[in-house]
Each structure stands twice: as structure tokens, then as C-alpha cells.
């Protein structure tokens, strides 16, 4: 079990990892994150919604309604500042990893 405080900083990164390539909707993001984490981590529904809401507020993603897949859903699409933010987080993680590794036995 991971402390939620630790992973909270990277929930946005996990979401943007997928949105970087193509728009998606909440459940699909949830499913793909869980799959990518090889079942070792899954997002709570409220956590996912908070993150998406935050990303939208910060202007990193836009939401839109779409029913082309049959069901009317809310999709999220990354934009330019979202991509920049994602890249910043990737660099940040590389740095954190570098530092913390030195303290792990």
C-alpha cells in the first residue's frame, strides 16, 4: 500500500501520460492507469475526478461532450500548456529519483 501523500503529486502525470497521445474519458483513464501500473495501483474515483477537475482549472486540459462512440460521455483533451506541464513533471521526477536513490539502502 502506497501512502497517498506520496503518489498524489504524480496523479496528474499518470493522467497526462495517456492524454498526451489522445483524448480520453474518465473511466478509460482509470482503467488504463490501473493496467499500466500492473494492478499495483488504482485511482479512487474521487481522486481521479479531483485531478481532472484540477487539470482543467489550471488550463492543462479541456473537456468536451462526445457521443460518437455510442454513449454520451465527457472527454478530456490535453493542450499545449498541458504538454509543457507534463514534460516539467517528467524532468522533476528524474531529478527526485536521482536524489532519493542516494538515500535508499
Amino acid at each position: 500500500m502506497i501512502s497517498s501523500d506520496v503518489i498524489r503529486g504524480y496523479v496528474d502525470t499518470m493522467i497526462l501520460y495517456f492524454l498526451f497521445d489522445e483524448p480520453s474519458y474518465a473511466y478509460e483513464l482509470s482503467r488504463r492507469i490501473r493496467q499500466r501500473a500492473q494492478e499495483k495501483y488504482a485511482l479512487k474515483e474521487t481522486t481521479l475526478y479531483s485531478a481532472l477537475s484540477r487539470l482543467e482549472q489550471s488550463g492543462y486540459v479541456e473537456s468536451y461532450r462526445d457521443d460518437s462512440s455510442g454513449k454520451r460521455r465527457t472527454y478530456y483533451r490535453i493542450n499545449t500548456s498541458g504538454r509543457e506541464y507534463y514534460e516539467t513533471k517528467c524532468r522533476e521526477w528524474a531529478l527526485i529519483q536521482d536524489i532519493i536513490e542516494r538515500f535508499i539502502r
Partner: protein
């Protein structure tokens, strides 16, 4: 799915009645319903799927803080309910008041046919005039 919608309604009971709340509720419902359906497709029973979806709901207080939503106290909820009931009663009274003269006319005919005192029953209309304000008073204080 009705159970999920009821669950969401209950969880968000103390949230303010605004557009942001509606949006959260609708998005979370969508997410939960999608997840529920996926679990059913995987072969879980309705109970199992529902149980899993609800157990993975998360922490609503964290969500509230994240979105900066104030809490409506339990008092305010019942105040809201009280207001709604008062409005309902007011509407009912309005209808009664509007029908006062119809009631008077019906009584007039009833009494007249029953007693045959047509020569006197017209007086009912005369009495009904000042009685109207008393009737109004009775209705207002019938709570």
C-alpha cells in the same frame, strides 16, 4: 443505474445546490456507471460489481476540500425542506381561496335542494361575503 444515482445523491446531500455540484455528481455517476458496466462484462454479479464500484469511491471530504465547496449544515437542509413544504401549502391554500365562491354556490344548491327553502337560501350569498375574510383567516392559521 438507479442505485448508483441514489448513492451519489446521498453522498452529496450536504453540498450546495449549484452548477459545480451538479457537474461533479454527473461526472462521478458517469465514471461509476462505466466501471460498473465493465465489471459486469467481466462476469461479476450485479452485487459484486456494485460493491466494488462503491468501495473504490474514495474520500468525499477530500473532494470537497479540493473543490472548495462549503458544507450545508443539517439545519439548512431541513430549512430547505421546510421552505418547500411551506410553498406547497401556500399553493394549496391559494387554490382553496380561489374556489371559495364555487364552494358557496355548491353549498347553496345542496341546502336549497335538501330543504327546499329557496326563498331563504339566497341569503347564504349575503353571509358569504363577510365570511370570506374569516375563511381566509382560518386557512392562514390552519397550521
Amino acid at each position: 443505474m438507479e442505485t448508483i444515482r441514489n448513492y451519489i445523491d446521498t453522498m452529496f446531500q450536504t453540498w450546495p445546490d449549484n452548477e459545480a455540484t451538479l457537474r461533479v455528481k454527473s461526472q462521478l455517476t458517469e465514471l461509476m456507471e462505466d466501471k460498473y458496466q465493465a465489471l459486469i462484462d467481466q462476469g461479476l454479479s450485479q452485487h459484486e460489481a456494485l460493491g466494488q464500484v462503491i468501495s473504490e469511491f474514495g474520500n468525499i471530504e477530500e473532494l470537497r476540500q479540493e473543490l472548495g465547496m462549503a458544507e450545508i449544515s443539517a439545519d439548512e437542509i431541513s430549512l430547505d425542506e421546510q421552505k418547500r413544504q411551506k410553498e406547497k401549502k401556500k399553493a394549496q391554500r391559494k387554490i382553496l381561496r380561489g374556489n371559495y365562491w364555487i364552494i358557496v354556490t355548491v353549498v347553496y344548491f345542496l341546502v336549497s335542494f335538501l330543504t327546499g327553502w329557496w326563498a331563504l337560501t339566497w341569503l347564504l350569498f349575503v353571509i358569504a361575503v363577510p365570511f370570506e375574510s374569516y375563511f381566509d383567516y382560518l386557512l392562514k392559521h390552519s397550521d
